[in-house]
């Protein structure tokens, strides 16, 4: 028999790179572990969520469940799309492995959801701590004006102010913005010594960093601190040498030095993937596939979501990003977050890890 | 360019698949003046437009001088000396009067514009105005002048007197007669002012439902009002 897994991701459209990464990660896992689990064939079926479009995503998920009879759902790049799928899970007894959507509350929408990606709180709290440690007194926060951005702003503000710092400017930038000159000017006038920013990876992030450099903020000594989304590895060549030294906190760097990561990247290359295009979503997908295999194994190929979720609820393993575990209370991944710095190594720009924050939970949901 | 003869052989054409003119043959000698008469909707305009190559041709052929132009592109026909003044005038609305005239120059120097202004002094006064601001009659003058500036050897006129004041009609007819007399141009005139058309032409065809229903000398019609009435008049249709 064949157990089908429906993967919903951004396969076309402006975010196609990340959908492609879902596939690269899953392919890498399958290449290493085979297409059979305990005698059952596993087949991944890809569908395009394209953009934040909950109605469409729900129709796709429903079709996967009803028509293709998938036993598991996976993927979900955007939060609203994940939210739209959630109500289907219980009736259809289908677990969902979220491989990107980063709003904390998603896992609360259904007991059948586990997440292998990250949340904004998870990555931002270490950023705020770092800022304090590096002597930042006055910070300007600039985030994209949508769910994750607002999460990032709240997380930074809360942590940084608790440590005695002052937030002198908090700017919410619309997603469509590409010209950041006026924003830089405003930050400059605010007298901030450090900028904290989160923008979803893509054209805006590049524009932001360039505006930071070209408007003379770097020259004037204003530091830039961000979550890793702003300096994803495929963007680094575009930012170029002026970006060297930018700090970020993130759960995965393509340059992470570990045997697991090396073999993961080698596997991607072997499968025809381009290592320069690898982003965090491929790792989330790789680990997501691990969870799915585990669930299939635990249920012996039967549709039994309770048993399946129970089997992965407290899993612990070493991922290409480092040691991770699933938090049984939240079904969200607990992982190391790294402080990285853009550096040039062997003529190539990378995010060099310079400090590790061990086993970070989702700070929004966690009771710690 | 000296006047050229025009030969049309068994020409059929229309708009898309709809056939409007059906097997028309005409022969106009160089320097001749042919008047085309007929009631509304009989295909006069369609005939002229087909000569310019702007409809779907279903059959037959067209010759200018000794050249077969049946398959020639519209702009090239203009290059061969065919000049057309449409019934709807087709003024370039967003060009000024002067710019409109310049489109008709066909490579002649801009000083030639004075010819047009002499022909219609009214246009000189309005030279800086946009085409769409002109009165109906002014547009008619402009359309005529624009085509004449290109010194056509065959001139196709579709109701050129429509909307012109009687004095201007007089002047225009005088001018057209002078042009034709000079032997520089062959004229095909579609006109509803039958008396003026008959006085001007040296041969006449009457069209009915896309065919030539009568042809002959203008005198035959001038003399016989009843015949005119039957052919183009208020008869039953």
């Amino acid at each position: 028999d064949t157990i089908k897994v429906g993967v919903i991701g951004t396969m076309s459209g402006p975010y196609a790179l990340f959908g492609k990464n879902f596939k690269m990660g899953i392919d890498a896992w399958v290449a290493e572990n085979g297409t059979k689990v305990g005698g059952h064939d596993v087949e991944f079926i890809y569908r395009d969520e394209e953009s934040p479009n909950p109605a469409k995503s729900k129709a796709i998920a429903q079709e996967l469940i009803v028509k293709d009879k998938v036993q598991y759902l996976a993927g979900a790049y955007f939060t609203p799309n994940a939210m739209a799928i959630a109500p289907l899970l219980e009736e259809s007894k289908t677990p969902l492995v979220v491989m990107n959507a980063a709003t904390s509350s998603i896992v609360e929408k259904s007991p059948y959801i586990v997440r292998t990606s990250f949340t904004m709180w998870q990555n931002t709290v270490p950023a705020a701590k770092t800022a304090t440690k590096n002597g930042a007194k006055k910070v300007a926060i600039a985030v994209s004006d949508y769910g994750p951005g607002i999460d990032a702003e709240a997380a930074f503000k809360k942590t940084f102010e608790a440590d005695g710092g002052a937030v002198v400017e908090a700017i919410r930038i619309p997603l469509a913005t590409t010209d950041f000159s006026p924003i830089m000017q405003r930050i400059k006038n605010s007298g901030a010594d450090t900028i904290f920013t989160f923008l979803p990876s893509g054209p805006p992030t590049l524009g932001f960093v360039k505006a930071y450099l070209d408007n003379g903020l770097k020259v004037a000594g204003v530091k830039l601190m961000s979550t890793g989304d702003v300096v994803t590895e495929p963007d680094l060549p575009n930012i170029g040498d002026p970006g060297i030294g930018i700090l970020s906190t993130y759960h995965y760097s393509v340059s992470h030095a570990s045997p697991e990561n090396a073999s993961f990247l080698a596997q991607i290359k072997k499968g025809g993937g381009n290592v320069d295009e690898v982003t965090m979503t491929s790792v989330a997908a790789y680990d997501g596939a691990r969870l799915i295999y585990k669930m299939i194994e635990a249920t012996a190929g039967q549709r039994d979501p309770v048993k399946a979720i129970a089997a992965v609820k407290d899993m612990t393993w070493v991922s290409p990003r480092g040691p991770v575990s699933i938090d049984p209370a939240t079904r969200h991944i607990r992982q190391n977050v790294y402080l990285r710095e853009v550096a040039k190594v062997d003529g190539k720009l990378i995010n060099r890890e310079i400090q590790t924050f061990d086993a970070q939970p989702d700070w929004a949901l966690s009771k710690e | 360019m000296p006047a050229a003869p025009l030969e049309v052989n068994n020409l059929s054409a229309g708009y898309g698949a709809t056939r409007i003119i059906d097997g028309i043959s005409l022969s106009v000698r160089a320097g001749d003046r042919l008047a085309v008469l007929g009631r509304n909707g009989m295909g006069k305009t369609t005939l002229l437009v087909t000569l310019m190559g702007l409809t779907t041709r279903h059959g037959g052929d067209i010759r200018i001088g000794d050249r077969d132009v049946t398959a020639t592109r519209t702009s090239a026909r203009a290059g061969l000396g065919l000049g057309y003044v449409p019934q709807t005038r087709d003024i370039f609305a967003s060009l000024t009067v002067e710019e409109n005239l310049r489109t008709g120059l066909k490579g002649r120097p801009a000083t030639a514009l004075d010819e047009a202004y002499e022909m219609f002094p009214r246009l000189r006064e309005r030279r800086g105005n946009y085409g769409k601001q002109l009165s109906g009659g002014e547009q008619q003058m402009l359309a005529m002048a624009r085509t004449l500036l290109g010194r056509p050897s065959i001139l196709l006129l579709d109701e050129p007197l429509e909307g012109l004041a009687p004095v201007i009609c007089d002047e225009l007819m005088v001018m057209l007669t002078r042009l034709a007399d000079s032997g520089e141009v062959t004229i095909v005139l579609v006109e509803q002012q039958i008396e003026r058309a008959l006085a001007f032409a040296d041969s006449v065809v009457v069209m009915e439902r896309g065919r030539v229903s009568w042809s002959g000398a203008p005198q035959a019609l001038t003399a016989d009002r009843a015949l005119v009435d039957r052919l183009v008049g208020v008869g039953i249709h």
Binding site: P14, P182, K210 | -
Partner: protein, 289 residues
């Protein structure tokens, strides 16, 4: 005062980028009456070619611009010959929208396939990169370059369209293509040349504007609305219109971003509405007959 100057500087630079990219579309919409929603797609092709020329062929910036402009025109030729010709004359604008959206999708698909889904930068020469001190603040050097390019483009185009025989023939062909033909104007050539001009301008804008509107496969759709709005507000086909609309909208956008960024496009579109109500024919529209 400093703030005002500062905003004005940013607005001018942003406005000029909008202008350079939109003017090709303005010509296409105003003079050829083709609502070419694929304009951004050709600008994007220009951007990709320039990026490829600089990063993979090590071409200097100036040469890369040339390659981009000529390359985009060459790519556009089959589109012109096979597709655009069908929608030039008298065609319903809705049909034009349909066709040009289709062309956009196809170009996006092909570009995505060839160059991959990630963003492509166009590295600047040293002389144009980094900040430039203009007294009261630092501005990106590149912006100064863009402003100069914008002004020169505007002037040359104005001369071409308003003052030359070509401009007259073009406008005549658009008003009444049959009549223009009947006067001996080779309208199909006029159209082809103008099309190439519009595409070339788009590609040029795509390259020099890439710092603000970065080149990626969805460029063509992402900025479609912005270009359309700039052209319509300015009045299609008018150089001065496009220029003033770009500057005004650039100002609205920059001011909004500076003073209340969280409102996003709100002020931009509010300004659009106000301008339309004040100038119902576009700022300097070529009103169509």
């Amino acid at each position: 005062m400093r703030i005002v100057l500062s905003i004005a500087t940013d607005a001018l630079a942003y406005g000029m980028v909008l202008f350079i990219i939109s003017i090709g579309l303005s010509i296409m919409m105003g003079l050829m009456r083709v609502v070419n929603l694929a304009h951004g797609a050709f600008a994007m092709i220009g951007g990709y070619l320039a990026s490829y020329a600089i990063r993979d062929l090590n071409a200097p910036y100036g040469l890369a611009i040339l390659i981009a402009v000529i390359g985009a025109i060459v790519v556009s030729i089959p589109f012109e010959a096979l597709l655009y010709r069908r929608i030039y004359r008298k065609s319903d604008p809705l049909i034009q929208v349909l066709m040009t959206i289709g062309i956009t999708f196809v170009i996006i698909g092909v570009v995505n396939y060839i160059f991959g889904p990630s963003l492509k930068s166009i590295p600047l020469p040293n002389a144009l990169s980094g900040p430039l001190d203009i007294g009261f603040r630092m501005v990106p050097t590149h912006r100064v370059f863009v402003i100069a390019c914008g002004l020169i483009t505007a002037l040359l185009l104005w001369l071409l369209i308003e003052k030359t025989e070509f401009g007259i023939k073009l406008r005549a062909s658009v008003d009444h293509s049959d009549m223009a033909d009947a006067l001996g104007i080779r309208t199909e050539i006029i159209y082809a040349v103008t099309f190439a001009l519009a595409i070339g301008l788009g590609a040029f804008g795509g390259v020099v504007g890439a710092e603000i509107l970065p080149i990626e496969p969805f460029y063509a759709l992402r900025y479609m609305v912005t270009f359309l709005v700039v052209v319509s507000v300015g009045g299609a086909g008018s150089i001065t219109g496009a220029l003033s609309a770009s500057l005004l909208l650039g100002l609205a956008d920059t001011t909004g971003k500076y003073l209340a960024p969280e409102f996003g496009e709100f002020f931009f579109y509010l300004t659009v509405i106000i301008i339309v109500f004040l100038f119902p024919r576009g700022l300097f529209g070529r009103s169509h007959a």
